[in-house]
């Protein structure tokens, strides 16, 4: 059975927002805050950055005016859904002395119904990747599980891309294909195509009593997305990346990147799929109470590999190499998916302007060159 596609005008879009509110969702969306478009709770769709766009390049992100007045003419920003679904800081366990005895209890995650209005294809792919790691592995993450179960995604297809985007090559965008409850295509600031992706998405759209969209709109959307994909300036070949990385453990490029890399951990923090955490135990001064905190960690920190006797990855070079290898190769072995969804955040938000696509390409080119040199040198 073909899915029903709806046509929403600007008022229809607001009604969708109202329906979500009525159903008890706290609606998050992109909104202007501190020089960037960030994910924050919206009080109405008027909080969307209408008439704003962004410009990104390595180590650069700027807000610009957009004359068309679009609601969704910008791409990924400094934060992602990770900050809500897999929070940077959480208290997980408490302990308390109790009249000579001892009490210990875990924090029970309180599920909050949240709708994310304006998620991009790459962000949904990142959620799918986090699902694989935090829900479908040997252990389930309680906090993520609770947040994820109560999440509703209103996707927005990308019909153009930022210079830092490379989702076409990672197969994760620019058109949202799965994991959404509703997907929107902004044809103009006044006209939207809405497609349900789940039963609850269908139900929400039904309530709007919106007219059906002309069938050719779906085709037009697919064409626009194909066009956006073809216009992307960056790419990564995920098929060859694991081999290229394993062949180049001692490549001089790692020294080259280590000179520029600041080991600051911004890349892992902004990456929507980097999930690593660390734990800290804290005790009160009167020694009556203790709590265990869970905090975002980064493989760029020295303590990340601390075991008895010291850290394993002491040099920044080994840390960058680990990060790139995990993102582009080891994830595939470990989780059967790529750790990179092509969102380009790590490129824009690296203060040193290190570009993951450029780094892997540098390894790749010289791998080929070396292979060819091997051939031409034959008989020398």
């Amino acid at each position: 059975m073909r899915k029903k596609l709806y046509r929403l005008d600007r008022a229809g879009l607001s009604s969708l927002f109202d329906v979500l509110k009525q159903e008890g969702y706290l609606v998050y969306g992109p909104t202007l805050c501190d020089h960037a478009i960030q994910w924050l709770p919206l009080s109405s769709l008027d909080d969307l950055p209408a008439g704003w766009t962004t410009s990104t390049a390595p180590a650069t992100y700027r807000l610009l005016r957009d004359s068309a007045g679009s609601l969704f003419h910008y791409w990924t920003g400094p934060d992602s859904l990770k900050k809500v679904l897999h929070p940077a800081r959480a208290c997980i366990t408490h302990a308390e002395r109790d009249n000579g005895s001892f009490r210990i209890w875990n924090e029970t995650p309180q599920p909050v119904k949240r709708a994310f209005f304006g998620t991009r294809a790459c962000d949904l792919a990142a959620v799918t990747a986090l699902d694989r790691v935090l829900l479908q592995d040997r252990f389930e993450d309680d906090i993520y599980k609770a947040n994820r179960a109560a999440a509703f995604f209103v996707a927005v297809h990308c019909t153009s891309s930022a210079p830092t985007c490379f989702c076409a090559s990672t197969g994760t965008g620019p058109q949202a294909r799965s994991c959404f409850d509703i997907a929107l295509h902004e044809r103009s600031p006044q006209e939207y195509l809405a497609e349900p992706g789940s039963a609850s998405g269908s139900a929400a759209l039904e309530k709007l009593a919106a007219p059906l969209a002309p069938p050719e709109w779906a085709k037009e959307l697919a064409e626009s997305c194909t066009h956006a994909a073809a216009a992307q300036q960056r790419r990564i070949d995920l098929n060859t990346a694991p081999v290229v990385i394993s062949l180049n453990f001692d490549h001089p490029r790692w020294d080259h990147v280590a000179k520029r890399c600041l080991s600051c951990g911004n890349c892992t923090s902004v990456c929507p799929t980097c999930f690593c955490v660390n734990f800290e135990d804290h005790t009160s001064l009167d020694l009556q109470q203790a709590e265990r905190l869970r905090l975002w960690d980064s493989c760029f920190s020295q303590n990340f590999t601390y075991i008895h006797g010291g850290s394993i990855r002491l040099s920044p070079k080994s840390r960058y190499r680990h990060w790139l290898s995990h993102k582009l190769a080891r994830w595939q072995e470990q989780f059967g998916t790529s750790g990179c969804v092509g969102c380009g955040r790590c490129i824009a938000w690296c203060p040193a302007g290190i570009d993951i696509t450029e780094e892997i390409a540098a390894l790749q080119t010289t791998t080929h060159a070396a292979a060819m040199t091997g051939v031409s040198n034959h008989g020398n």
Partner: protein, 261 residues
């Protein structure tokens, strides 16, 4: 601790410094009652008239060593203290007064004092660790009172304190701050500075000033290069590394490398 049930005896000593770090202890008002209940403050001239003799379980040392007298006293303090903790940029890196290390201090003395002959000072301002073994360092100008309370409570509980050595960026990102370097082109020392302040300045829209000194694997030359690309004049790059932690070797070295000839 001296005996099983006795409260640990704590002493606070000061060398060349502004007192700001010691004040953090007094400033921890809400926790102060708990602190004074948990420890025995044996020597803390800034806060109490009581000046009990050593030995001490914990000595908190503020300030850098700038005189012959200081250099002697710190030896005595070390002999009397079980655990010696340097607190603040002066004690851990030599402080802002270490700027004298690049100059001839006798010239300053002649300029400042009416009777320079009365002044006896060392050529350099140096951190405590250059004089005696130090058990722990609390960075910052000033230190973060939460970190101080953390060190005290960890010591009481017999656990290792949580003192991160990674970059300020990690704290900034956990707070969901938007990176000022990337979004505004502001020079920020966060990527090479040790966490501990919670990303204070970037949260207020200012680039990090590097109060907590170099982080664990600080790539200061890499950041200086980025500053240059952002259009920061060479003299300002040098100056940005020559503040409270100027004499910490990573910052010292990069400031000397970018120093205009």
């Amino acid at each position: 601790m001296s005996s099983k049930n006795a409260k640990p005896r704590v002493a606070v000593f000061k060398f060349a410094s502004c007192d700001g770090c010691q004040l953090s202890l007094i400033d921890a008002e809400d926790q102060l009652l708990a602190i004074s209940g948990a420890i025995d403050i044996a020597y803390f001239p800034e806060a109490s008239r009581r000046m009990a003799k050593g030995p001490y379980d914990i000595a908190l040392i503020e300030g850098s060593i700038t005189t012959h007298h200081d250099a002697d006293v710190i030896q005595q303090v070390r002999r009397q203290s079980k655990t010696l903790i340097s607190i603040g940029a002066c004690a851990t890196a030599g402080g802002i007064q270490a700027l004298r290390n690049w100059k001839d201090v006798s010239e300053y003395v002649r300029l400042v004092y009416a009777k320079p002959d009365f002044i006896s000072t060392l050529k350099m301002s140096t951190p405590i660790a250059e004089h005696v073994p130090v058990d722990m360092e609390l960075r910052g100008c000033p230190i973060n009172k939460e970190q101080l309370v953390e060190v005290i409570s960890a010591t009481l509980a017999g656990r290792k304190p949580n003192l991160p050595t990674y970059s300020v960026c990690i704290e900034c990102k956990r707070r969901s701050n938007v990176c000022l370097m990337v979004a505004c082109g502001t020079a920020c020392l966060g990527p090479v500075t040790q966490a501990g302040c919670g990303g204070l300045c970037p949260s207020m829209g200012r680039g990090c000033y590097g109060c907590f000194g170099p982080m664990e694997s600080s790539n200061a030359p890499g950041l200086a290069e980025r500053f240059r690309i952002l259009g920061v004049p060479q003299a300002d790059i040098e100056r940005s590394f020559r503040t409270f932690n100027a004499w910490a070797w990573q910052f010292r070295k990069v400031s000397e490398e970018v120093h205009p000839q």
